[in-house]
Amino acid sequence: MKNKLSLALMMGYLLPGLVLATDKLEVVTATSDLADFVKAVGGDKVKVVSLSNGSQDPHFIEPRPSMVMQVKKADVLVRIGMDLDLWVQSLIEASRNSKVMYGGPGYLDASRKIEKLEVPTGKIDASMGDIHLYGNPHYWLDPENAKPILGSIVKKLCEMLPSESEYFNKNYEEYLRILDSAIAKWEEEMKPYAGAKIVTYHNSWPYFTKRFRLEIIGCVEPKPGIPPTPSHIVSLVKKIKEEKVKVIIMEPYFNLKVTEKIAKDSGAKVVVLPPSVGGIQGANTYLHLFEYNIGKLAESLQD
């Protein structure tokens, strides 16, 4: 045990960031969507594990010892960033794996190349805290944003396993082609509903609605993480009626009761859409996820 340990330690010092050509790259990701991207690009040259599954709220993941172990042996760690997955930070620190620490060769914040929405502008004073500075972190819900995410991933994989660069790039190009035609199809499906007004439970859909030209007129939560107050519910119901909103989008892990009450009082319909791969049965890949969500949403907006 001790020998093994010191050998591992020595290897860690001697070969920081380098991986033997015959080995698969060990990749951990914060969410299932990121894992799907890594799989698409990395193919059989990587072994990827997601630390959370699609049915969990990615803001709150209860850490387990095995997660630390997974991060410990990882060559690459991909996270959502923008303070959405703060729990990943604790896992990295506990793992003491310098490869995947911030600034390490295997660390990848997938939000780096994303054009961010809702970044506070103007003077930011101390009373605002340091929490929401980076903007809205639910950027993977715009399928166009998959491209910069995939771009960052392919770059990182090539850096870590240069011998397979060609393979990674080929997979990347191929995925982009499939993605492009899929996006064109989804946009076509959503076209009839351009400009439709909707309400969401949590403020997690602005990237999605921007892409598919929907307009969010309000959220069930007055502020992220705060349950609705009575006056907020009353004014939201009024607004939904006035603006003739048809649907309220909600993630599977939020409070259905409150949302159903608002829907009942206002005549709108609750549509439960999983925000991540695996959030519902059948949505096992990123492409399937959007296939499901677009289909469900188009159907609800129709009637």
Partner: protein, 269 residues
């Protein structure tokens, strides 16, 4: 895996050390939920500090939450009445509920994401680090020493307040000192281990020890031994079965109580 569990185990031993002792006081005084109430007041203090622009986990925010804890300590010291019309546990419950509700109101007015603040206030024993352990050991060592030096007074006001009154010990003052030191311990522990786990460390070893013995010294030794052993079992279960660590330890404590209760029943027969 063993390496990973080493720091949590060290933290568990320190938690056992101070909480098993304080637990005996708390159970004798019949103020079981006082730690939840004080922890909640401290959290309220931290949240208000955050609203005023102080950073979470900064010294300024810490001072703020300790100040709030002292306010709580004053309330509990003043509400121990000679002739009890209502149990002090009722007051504690009220303080808990109101301060928890206050933090919701304050968070509602906070400019940024409430969910992150809530997440950051509660620690996870799996992620404890050396500097935190050392800080905790020193702080609890000092408080433990203070309690050891004045053990006669502290024990008398907890176990036999009538006798204390006869001796003309200023009970309210010593009550305040008890709750203030207790509050500091609980606040620091919650920041490292979370509410559930701290509550278990406070109550379970003390309850088991009190079931098994009537002598203070034996009770203390039993509490420490049982607390340490159960921590080890909980950590082992968490490591091998891959359970969330804090919850695994709390459930191990549940099994301990069950075991001791059965043992005691058999012994009585």
């Amino acid at each position: 895996m063993f390496e990973l569990m080493l720091l949590p185990f060290a933290a568990c031993l320190i938690l056992t050390g101070i909480h098993a002792y304080l637990g005996i006081h708390v159970i004798e005084r019949e103020v079981i939920f006082v730690d939840l109430a004080l922890a909640q007041i401290a959290a309220l203090g931290a949240i208000i500090a955050f609203l005023f622009g102080m950073e979470l986990h900064s010294t300024a925010a810490y001072v703020f939450s300790i100040a709030f804890t002292f306010v709580g300590a004053t309330i509990f010291a003043l509400t121990r009445l000679k002739e009890r019309k209502v149990s002090q546990e009722a007051i504690i419950g009220i303080v808990y509920a109101v301060s928890a509700a206050c933090s919701i109101l304050v968070l509602d007015r906070a400019p940024s994401e409430a969910e992150h603040i809530k997440y950051m206030l509660v620690g996870n024993i799996l992620f404890v680090k050396w500097p935190e352990i050392i800080k905790m050991a020193v702080l609890y060592g000092v408080i433990g020493l203070f309690h050891f030096i004045y053990r006669r007074k502290f024990l008398l006001i907890s176990l036999n307040s009538e006798e204390a009154q006869k001796e003309k010990i200023p009970i309210k003052w010593w009550d305040f000192l008890f709750y203030a030191t207790f509050g500091v311990v609980v606040t620091s522990s919650v920041e490292i281990a979370g509410v559930l786990l701290v509550f278990s460390y406070l109550i379970v070893p003390a309850v088991c020890a009190m079931l098994l013995s009537d002598k203070l010294k034996t009770r203390l030794l039993l509490g420490w031994a049982l607390g340490s052993l159960t921590s080890l079992i909980g950590l082992y279960l968490s490591a091998t079965l891959d359970f969330p660590t804090g919850a695994a330890i709390v459930c191990a404590f549940g099994l301990l109580v069950l075991g001791v209760a059965i043992l005691q029943r058999l012994a009585v027969r």
